[in-house]
Symmetry: C2
Amino acid sequence: MTIDTARLQDMANAIRALSMDAVQAANSGHPGMPMGMADVASVLFQNHLKFDPSRPDWADRDRFVLSAGHGSMLIYSLLHLSGYARPTMEEIRNFRQLGSPCAGHPENFLLEGVECTTGPLGQGLAMAVGMAMAERHLNAEFGDGLVDHRTWVVAGDGCLMEGINHEAIGLAGHLHLGRLIVLWDDNNITIDGPADLSTSEDIKARYEATGWHVVSCDGHDFDDIDRALEEAKADERPSLVACRTIIGKGAPNKQGTAATHGAPLGPEEIAGAREALGWDAEPFEVPGDILADWRATGDAGREANGEWQNRLAGSELKDQFEKRMDGVGDSASAAVTAHIQTLAADPQKVATRKASEMALEPLTENIRHLIGGSADLTGSNNTKTSATAPFTADDYSGRYVYYGIREFGMAAAMNGMALHGGVVPYGGTFLIFSDYCRNAIRLSALQKVGVVYVMTHDSIGLGEDGPTHQPVEQVMSLRLVPNLNVYRPCDTIETAECWALALQTPHTPSVLALSRQGLPQLRGEGDADWSGETNRSAKGGYRMRAASADRKVVIVASGSEVSLAVECADRLEQDGVGVDVVSMVCAELFDQQDEDYRADILPADALIVSIEAGSTLGWERYTGCGGLNIGIDSFGASAPASDLFSHFGFTADAIVPQIQNKLNT
Amino acid sequence: MTIDTARLQDMANAIRALSMDAVQAANSGHPGMPMGMADVASVLFQNHLKFDPSRPDWADRDRFVLSAGHGSMLIYSLLHLSGYARPTMEEIRNFRQLGSPCAGHPENFLLEGVECTTGPLGQGLAMAVGMAMAERHLNAEFGDGLVDHRTWVVAGDGCLMEGINHEAIGLAGHLHLGRLIVLWDDNNITIDGPADLSTSEDIKARYEATGWHVVSCDGHDFDDIDRALEEAKADERPSLVACRTIIGKGAPNKQGTAATHGAPLGPEEIAGAREALGWDAEPFEVPGDILADWRATGDAGREANGEWQNRLAGSELKDQFEKRMDGVGDSASAAVTAHIQTLAADPQKVATRKASEMALEPLTENIRHLIGGSADLTGSNNTKTSATAPFTADDYSGRYVYYGIREFGMAAAMNGMALHGGVVPYGGTFLIFSDYCRNAIRLSALQKVGVVYVMTHDSIGLGEDGPTHQPVEQVMSLRLVPNLNVYRPCDTIETAECWALALQTPHTPSVLALSRQGLPQLRGEGDADWSGETNRSAKGGYRMRAASADRKVVIVASGSEVSLAVECADRLEQDGVGVDVVSMVCAELFDQQDEDYRADILPADALIVSIEAGSTLGWERYTGCGGLNIGIDSFGASAPASDLFSHFGFTADAIVPQIQNKLNT
């Protein structure tokens, strides 16, 4: 494609002006990165990116990810200038103000055109890997005519230095994701100063060692940028394009320094930039001819989309494709119905990680969207089923990903896959290693994507591996994350119910906390005719067993402790004390029930006792005045599980007297 | 040094036998890695490692880190065989049983000789980087005669694939830590199968790109191992020694397969191994001549230690050195006394991150143990002081580390430094990125080291950067971690008090949650004669202000919300309602006070209201029956801080009516 330097320069300077002016107006923000990458971004949008501003939801669009999310004015400028309906100029004027979709860091739920929420360094790139995985997977199923697009990332030094970068590029290199192209803002500046204050790495050599193609260019030479992007597209490997840039380019005195990174330029420097760039338009005004050039960048994509729509309309895979892109709907309940009814007739005592695998069989068989995986713990997480063959560089139709020892990279890739659409990812690791990927789990919640984390080995019940591996605070700490449903099912049937629920909340991610050890099946009675409508876990907490008579105590437990609660209840009942047993499968769902329901399940006039092999802090919300909380608030120990449960007081012998004491006080 | 292959073979097989037999007896554990690395470990201990089994606390010993912590029987075998007092053979027989110090994964607080607690992959190596940093720092101060030792790491494929590995080796390469040597168990096996299931990386090239020296050897050829270790020691760069091994070497049918990774070999395979290795001793018995060879491996170190003791005794730096290795003692209170008294006379309204910097000035001036740093947020975390010059490859005497964008690597390095002894590290990042290093913070607590995490920008009070950066659940989720003190001071004086407390708990790590925004100084009255004994924050929570009369309400708040609590109290007092204001600086310390104190501060007969710009779940523990919890349980938003505090209800206008309502119900 032709490079008209003068026109591209104006187009790039429009980005520079908007960025520095918006940051200045907000008295807050990061002008350096947008000004540094304006030239590269202009070439990308003008000549390479496949997009239709009138259809931000076009399934076959290229994905553009601003991994260096602090440079958010770059993407807001690009979306506005190229003709997306939003952000409007008014919204840009209100950059970083309450109510503006132009938030400090780009948020996917505020603006179409923002593919993912970035800011926490490294994760944008790692999510882009997931988007590229989804693209290849859907291409394997639907063919080049319907699925053939690229994933472009703009990333800075920070994104490349973070540990997650290693995991992300390892995955991408191993999977030969050739349509993934990372444009590295190679400006040699970090917040604390020159990059060599903290790093001496030969980044290009590292990427090549990881199976990537590496190319360099002068980030301020349009022809050179264009040449580099063409080379990147041509190569079969994922590509890193090192764009040598000057941070804050255009700011006459401050460019090239960390001063432009995270603070407004100031009125003097802005005036100087206007002069240096020859830009005399007022803030938030774009000269008509330059705007026209920008608006034209979407033409090729609009046309390509038109052609694509035609191909879709005439394709025999049309219905299948649209269903796939629509999501799972309520097919999950249907998929597990027979399974649960079978369990009702034929109870199984198994670990809930095994129960999860049992439910995954019909789920993965019937719901083709599902792509599973594990961070090198497949046999322990029980995430692979007969319907899921390996997803590899040689066979992208596979539905099982061997993520390797890369928990954070896995979680971010899952986010990217979900955001791409057409796939619903689930991935496993040990619950303790939710710590490693915690901020990606948080981003699942913030971005409102319905990924499912299969987190096994959920307590001291895992036994001998000891305190480094035994979760204590993980379940409760995950309950603290907004918009995250944390499920801890007690048996086979609850586990299947939780899977159904998890797959019915496409805008809320789920964690399944599952046991290593075998657990008795407590459900079954009354489940012979189970259906989605009768999913008892849907209320989050429910009465598993009612007191025989005069109820004095309610024991509320989750997961592996529900059977212990039943045992305690049995003993107390024998002593004439009426005891309800409540299974708190998912506290978040319980919190959403109306007050009457919650007051009925956890009544004010009973002694409420919580039992969970985890932190007690937080349980007071449910056990109220004068309640009793049985839990573990210290690190665990290395021993067989039964010894540990005794040692830490999780036996009826230890608990029942405490309840009786409390009743008598 | 000579290599007597026959004797080394016997010595290595002693490790193999102990490992497979202990795992078998426990019916749990990982025999493959110890059996695979037995040969390498034998050469290391025989010819290279500087250690004195009779003095595991010898300050100038080499450090040995088993980063692949699941192979714990390797280190237990090594410690026992080479003559450490523990583990005894009885303790090894009880591997993975309750009460045995031979836990599933090695725990530093259970066995001398275990330098750090490993298991969560990647962190051992990253902690070793910190140990190597500490060694160079102390060498810069005390010279070669007193400080000159190496740090050896045994790591597996998992440790190298984890994101934290990238951060750790980046730091080590940049800092030219030539005394750090990583022995890579290059067996090409991960849990899910062959390593190439998930990775295609050229690991050696990556390490070279990061400034490391790389050498290979046949992990089962003693001469070759010895040659490689010599080359590693000779090179000025940190070294990776790729030891080609067969996992489970010695197990005739299962060696080389993932089957030996994480399960007992089984009696048949063990019998086969005995035959294949020519090992006929009973389980847990070591033939006398082989044991004698093992016990002799410590001779050189014992002798070296004796010489070292002489050098120390005759050194003019003796007292200084011993003081340094002893720790901080109670010098922190003395260091901040004048500073606090000055603040009492001359109040300052500043952000608590700035208050932290102010306290750090006298602290770093007076306590030479302190080594600070930040993960590329120095100017934001305010962690650098006039007493701390950069710690670099050219000047290891520096006391400020530019960690780069490596939060997890920084936290692990801090753990390693603290475990090494002689340095007390503190490091900064944004509180939201505690998520990135959460498991290292957990390991600080598990390993009982008193590192200090400076976590700034602690709430929606950070403003425009928005929800990806605004902590909501972080403070409460960190309170859930056992043995971790989470401080959230309200002003300059509390911040200095918290620093003093943090530096007085050498076995408990601390998090300082600090504001971005300016906060009024609430303390001062009564602090003119401040001393360590009068540290009001020491009780964790205390009455900042007492009700004028008939107390009806107690408002308990932390950090930036304490001044809001005072404002609310003012208004209610004007309405004739008596209100106490309690500052909950550190919930963990408060929990440790006796019941009378706690009941006095949070009395049963008052309405207790909590105010904290974070999760409400968990506050019920302190606000009890019928309390009121003001907080934020959703993600934040991008806007100036004052707009956000209004928007989310953190104003007296919004809160006082709620309190009045509650009083009237």
